[in-house]
Symmetry: D2
Subunit: 375 residues, 4 copies
C-alpha cells in the first residue's frame, strides 16, 4: 500500500534541502520510476529557513508548495510523510511534532545530540503508532544485503569477528579553522559523527552490543580562529572495541582526519568457514573467501553488483554498471513505503536507532572510565 | 535557456521504456532537482508498443500522456524534445521524422545498423537546424572529464598511445541459445555493439581515426536452437588496431564473451610525461602517473571522484561517495539542455556520431581485407 | 668489517634448519653474492636434533660440518656468529651460552616465552659486548625503509595515528586438532605470536609504547583431540589499543584465525599532511597520499619497489620486478654484518627487542585488568 | 641425476656477471639449499671482460676460478654446464662452442638478433645431444604453473582468447639520449625486446602461432645525442595480433615507453567456462573466475601464492609470504637439472625457443607488409 487512508498517493513534506534534504527529494522524485510498483508520491510541501529559498528549492525539487514554517508543514492534512533533514539538534522537536500530528517520519541520523532526546523520540514513535525510521542509507546497498544473505546463509560459517573502519579527511587539515565540529556542543567527535554508520551495519548483522571500550584522541590540540588558536573540544579519532551478544568480538576505528580517505567504511567479517570484506568507497563490490575446494584455488572473490543482488535490477538490468550514493536513498525510500504498508522492510526505526545511540553513549563513558562499560 | 520558444519549460516525449528508455525517464525526472539551474521539464508524452503498457509506464515514470503511435508523439506541439530509445533499427525513421517535425532529438547509440541510414540521420539533423545528439553516456562521467582535462592540461605530456578494452560476459555461456545478437542482421557483433563506446572516448580525446585494422573471431561456431544447433553469424570478439590523425597509436579489444567482465571499459593512455588508467567497472576512480618528483615516490595515484570533478558536486557535496551509471544520463541530459540553449556542451551530435560509425564500418572492411583500411 | 679478528671471513654456525633455519642458511649463502661488498662467510657448522639429519642438511645448505650438540657449536673457535632458529623456548639458553662464548648472535624472534628470560638475554648481550640481534625481517623490506624515510622526511607531516593488522588463517579451521599453539604453555596466542611483528614496525617508527589496552578472544572454545574435544587455552584473536610516547594513537588487530589472510600485515599511518598504506601480502608496494597540489588530482600513489629503494638495487637493477620473503633475510644478514663491523645498521638488538616483549606483556596484563596498563 | 658422468656434482661455468649473470650465480648458489634434493653444484669458473673484474666477481659470487677467456671456460673439463648471460649478439658463438665442447647450455633469451643465428643454435643443440635451454624465467613462476594447471584441468573450459601486455618505462623519457636500444642493430624494439616473454607464456599454453599481424610505432621520432638529435631507428611500441593453431585469438601489446609500468606482463585468458587474469607486477597472485554456483556469488578470486603451488613450498612453508624475481631463476635452475637428468622438466629448449623467434620475425614482416603473415 503506497497510498494514504484516503486512497490517494502519499503526500510528502520535506523539511530542509541541504546535503541530505536534496538526497531525500531526489529519492521522492525517483522512487516510483525506479521501482514501478508504487503510486507516485505527491510532493506537497517543502520548508526552508526563508520563503524565497523555499520557493526556489520547491521549483527545482518538484514540490508544489513552499514555506518557512515547519509547524505548518507537519500540520498540513495533505502531508502523510515528513522527511526531516535539518541539523541534528532540531530532530527531536520536529519528529515528535510530526508524529503527534499523525504523520509518518523519515528522519536523518543520528537521532539527537542528547540520549534523553533520542529516548523521547522513540517514545513518541511508539505512542503514535506511525512509522518512524532513520536514514541509515548504507544498509540499503544491495551489496550489504548480499553480506547479510551470506552470513544468514552460512557462507562463512559462524561469524566471530567484525572489524569496521570509517574514515574521511574533512578534518585532516590542521589549517582548517575551528568550527562547530570542533565544539563540544556538536557531540564527541568521530565517535558519534561516524560511529553510528558502522554500528548500523553491526546492528543488522549481530544485534546489540553488550560491552564497549573506547580510546579517543585529537590529532590537533588547537585550531586557528580569529584570536589565533582555540582549543579543540571534540575528538576526531576514536578507537572502539566491542563485544556483541552472540559472542562476536568487534572493533571500530573512526577517523575524520584521515588524509586520503573520502568515504571509507571498510568492513571485515571473519567466520569459521570464510570471510567477507567490503569498502564503501567501492560500494559496488564485495569480497568473499570460502574455505572450500582445493587450497590452490582458494582466494577472495571480488563480486560486482548486478541484477542478482536486488534491488539493483530495478536501476540497471546489466551487472557491473554501478549504483551511486544517491541510489541508496531511493532504496531506503522504497523500504519506508514498505514499512508504511505493513510489509517486511529493511529499515532502522526509532526504537532500533536508540540502541545504536546507547552504544555510542556507552563508548563515551568507557573513554572517561578507561575500562569496559556495559551497554 | 531551458525553456522553449514560447517561454514554457521544455516538453519531453519519450519513445521506448526499456533499459535505456527508463534511464532517459529517470534523467528527465531528476535533471532539475540535481542541477537546480534549469526549468523543470514537462514530461508530456510517452510511447510504447501498446496503449496499456504505455499507460502503465507513464504512471510510473511521471509522464502525463501515453500512446502507442510514435508519429503522434513527434507531431505533438507540446513536445519540444524527443528521446528515442527503441531498438537500433527504428532510430533512423523516428529521428528523421522528429527532426523534420522541428523537435530536438536525443537518440540512443549506435545510430543505425547501416552506415547509409546514419548518414541520412546526420543530414536530417544538419538540415533541421535542431539539436540532435547521441546517448554516449560514458563520456559524461566526471572522471572521464578529468581525463580530458588531464590530457588537455599536459598532465601526461604528449599522448602517443591509447589502449581500450570493452568486455562483458552476456554472450560467454556456450549454452545461451541462438538469438538476434548472433544473427548477422544485428550487425558485426562486438565490433559495433561495443566498439562505439571506446571510440566515443577516443573521439573526444584524439579526434578522427585515420586507418584501422581488425581481427574478429567467434568463441563458439554454433549455438543451441530448436533444431539442435545453428551457426553463429556474428563475432563476439574483435581486436582492432588504429592510428589517429595526431599520430596516436591505438588498440581496441572487444569481447562480449568475456567471463567475469560485467561492464569493463578499461582505458590506458600513455604520454611523454605520464600515463592515465581508467576502468568503467570502477567508474568513480581514475589513476594518474606523472614522471615528476623523486623516483622513489612515483606511482599511479588512485583519484576518487569528488566535488573537485564537476558536476559530481551537484549530486553529492562530499568526495568519495560515488556516482552510479544512471547519474551519467542525468549529466548527459543537462548537457543536451545546454546544447539546446546554445551553450558549450559535452555531447556527441549526429555529425560526430557518424564519424564513429564510419570507423566501425572501416574496421569491418579491414577484417574482410586482412589489411589496413583508411577511414 | 666483514671479517673476524683473525682477518678471516666470519665463520657461521647454524642451530636449527626448519622454516627460519633454512631461511638463515639461504641468507648466509647469498649475502656476499647479492651485495658484493662483504667477504663471503665461511659456513662452518650446523646443528640439528640428530647427526643424520644434521649431515643431510649440511650437505644441502652448504655447511662444512654437522652435529647434534649445539654446545659444541657455540664453543667452536672457527665459529664467529651463531644463528639460532630453534623453537622459542630454547632461545635463552642457547643465546646466552653463545654470547658467553664470545660469539655474535642472530636469534629468531620472539626472544623467549617468559619476560624474565628475555631480560636475561638482554643482560647477557650487554655484558658480552657482542652483537646480538633478533630476526625482525619485515623491517628490512626496502618498502618499509621507504616508509621510515617518508615519515622522517615529513612526507605526511606529523604522524598521529597508526593502525596495524596482522592476520593469517592457519588456526581458522575449527577442525584443526588441539596442538601446542592452543596450549597456554605456548604463550597468549595471537598477541605474542603475531603482535611482535607490527610492534617492530611501531618501535622503528614511533619508539616506545606508553600504555596499552587489550581484548583477546577465542573463535573456538574447544578443538578436537583424541578424547573428543579439549578446551582451547590461548586466544587466536587480540585487539590491542596503544599510545606511544610522542602522542601517536595506535591499534593492533591480530588474528590467526582469519580465513583468507595468508601473510597480511596491513599498516596505515595518518599524519597532518598525508597518509601511508602498506600490506605485507603485497610487499613490493607502498601507497602514499599527500595533501598537496590540486584537490582534483590527489590520490593514493601506489609505489612499486625498485632500485630507488635501496638495497632493492642489489637484487635486481630493474624496478617492479619484485623481492620475495627470503630476500628480506638476506638484507637482515647484511645489516647484521654492518652492526658487527660497528657501522650504522637497521637491526633490532636484544635490548630493543626487550622493549617489544615488555609491551606484549603489558597487553596481556591489560586484558586481565580490563583497563589501561602502563608499559 | 644432478651429478655428471663421473659421479661428481655438476661443474658450472658462468660467462657474464651483469643483470642476468648475477641472477644465474644466485641461482647456482641457492638451488641445492632451496630444493634439498640435488647435489650441490661446483661453481668452477667465471668469465668477465677482464681478469680483475672476473676475480672480483668470482670472490663475491662464490666461483673458484676466474678468467677473461670464455673459450677456455667452455673447454674446461671440470665444467659440465655453461651459463651464458652476455649481450645477445654473443649468444650464438658461445652457445655453439659450448655445445660442441659437450657442455650443457643455459642461455639467456632471446637467442640471437638474427633468425639465422637462432636456427644455427637450435641445430647445434640437436646435434650435440646436450641439454640447451633458454632463460624464460617467467614461466617458472608457481602462479604461472597454476595457470597451466587451471587450463589443462578445464577450470575455464575451452580457452578461446589470450590478451597479453608487456610494459616498462625505461624508454619513456624523451630526454633519454639515443643509445643502442634505439639503433636498428639492436633489433626491432619492443617487439623482440619484450615480445618473447608473453610469447613464452603463449607457447606453453597454446603451442605455435599460425599467423600474425603487427603495428609498430615510435613515441619519439628523435632522441638527443651529441649533435643535437638523432632519428630513432627502433619502435618502442608494438601491437601484435595473432591466431594460434588451436583457434585461440590473441593480442600482444608491447610498450617500453609506458610511464608507470615497471615490470608489467598482464595476461588475460578467456574460456567457455571462466577466465584467468595475471600481472607479473603482482607475481604472487593470480585471479580466476569460474561461471559456476549462484550468480550472486560469482567473481574473480584473487589467489595468493602458497605451498599449494609447488615449488613455492621449497622456498617458504607458509602461504602469502611471497617469492621474488630472483627466486624464479632458482626454479629454472632446478628444472634445468631435471632436464639434464632426463626427467620431465618445464623448460624452453633451443628448438622451442626458435619457434618463438620465428613468430617475432613473422610479426616484423607483417608490419612491413601491412597484412597477416603466416608463421
Amino acid at each position: 500500500m503506497t497510498r494514504n487512508e484516503g486512497g490517494r498517493p502519499l503526500g510528502i513534506g520535506l523539511i530542509g534541502t541541504g546535503y541530505m534534504g536534496k538526497c531525500h527529494a531526489l529519492a521522492w522524485n525517483a522512487v516510483a520510476a525506479v521501482f514501478g510498483d508504487v503510486a507516485r508520491p505527491r510532493l506537497e510541501m517543502l520548508c526552508e529557513v526563508n520563503e524565497d529559498l523555499a520557493r526556489e528549492r520547491a521549483a527545482a525539487l518538484g514540490f508544489e508548495r513552499a514555506g518557512a514554517d515547519w509547524r505548518m508543514l507537519v500540520a498540513d492534512p495533505a502531508v502523510d510523510v515528513v522527511s526531516i533533514t535539518t541539523p541534528n539538534q532540531f530532530h527531536p522537536e520536529m519528529a515528535i511534532a510530526a508524529l503527534e500530528a499523525g504523520k509518518h517520519v523519515w528522519c536523518e541520523k543520528p537521532m539527537a545530540p542528547a540520549l534523553a532526546d533520542a529516548r523521547a523520540m522513540a517514545r513518541a514513535a511508539r505512542e503514535s503508532g506511525r512509522v518512524a525510521i532513520l536514514g541509515y542509507n548504507y544498509i540499503q546497498n544491495p551489496m550489504f544485503r548480499e553480506i547479510e544473505a551470506m552470513i544468514a546463509g552460512g557462507a562463512i560459517g559462524t561469524p566471530f569477528q567484525l572489524r569496521a573502519e570509517m574514515d574521511e579527511d574533512f578534518m585532516a587539515d590542521p589549517a582548517t579553522p575551528f568550527n562547530w565540529k570542533s565544539a563540544s556542543s556538536s557531540g564527541h567527535g568521530a565517535l558519534d559523527d561516524f560511529g553510528v554508520h558502522p554500528l548500523s551495519f553491526a546492528h543488522r548483522l549481530f544485534g546489540k552490543a553488550e560491552r564497549v571500550f573506547c580510546d579517543m584522541a585529537r590529532p590537533f590540540a588547537t585550531r586557528p580562529d580569529a584570536d589565533g588558536a582555540r582549543a579543540v573540544e571534540t575528538h576526531d579519532m576514536a578507537n572502539v572495541l566491542l563485544r556483541f551478544a552472540g559472542g562476536v568480538q568487534a572493533s571500530l576505528l573512526l577517523n575524520r582526519s584521515a588524509w586520503g580517505r573520502k568515504g571509507r567504511i571498510a568492513v571485515q567479517v571473519f567466520g569459521s568457514q570464510g570471510a567477507i570484506v567490503y569498502d564503501q568507497e567501492r560500494m559496488n563490490e564485495v569480497e568473499l573467501y570460502r574455505a572450500e575446494g582445493p587450497v590452490a584455488r582458494q582466494g577472495f572473490s571480488r563480486i560486482l553488483a548486478g541484477p542478482a543482488h536486488p534491488p539493483y535490477d530495478r536501476f540497471v538490468p546489466a551487472p557491473g554498471h554501478g549504483l551511486g550514493f544517491n541510489d541508496l536513498k531511493v532504496i531506503e525510500c522504497r523500504e519506508l513505503l514498505r514499512r508504511i504498508a505493513g510489509e517486511p522492510s529493511v529499515t532502522i526505526g526509532f526504537e532500533e536507532g536508540l540502541e545504536i545511540e546507547r552504544t555510542v553513549d556507552a563508548a563515551a563513558r568507557a573513554f572517561e572510565a578507561g575500562g569496559w562499560v556495559e551497554v
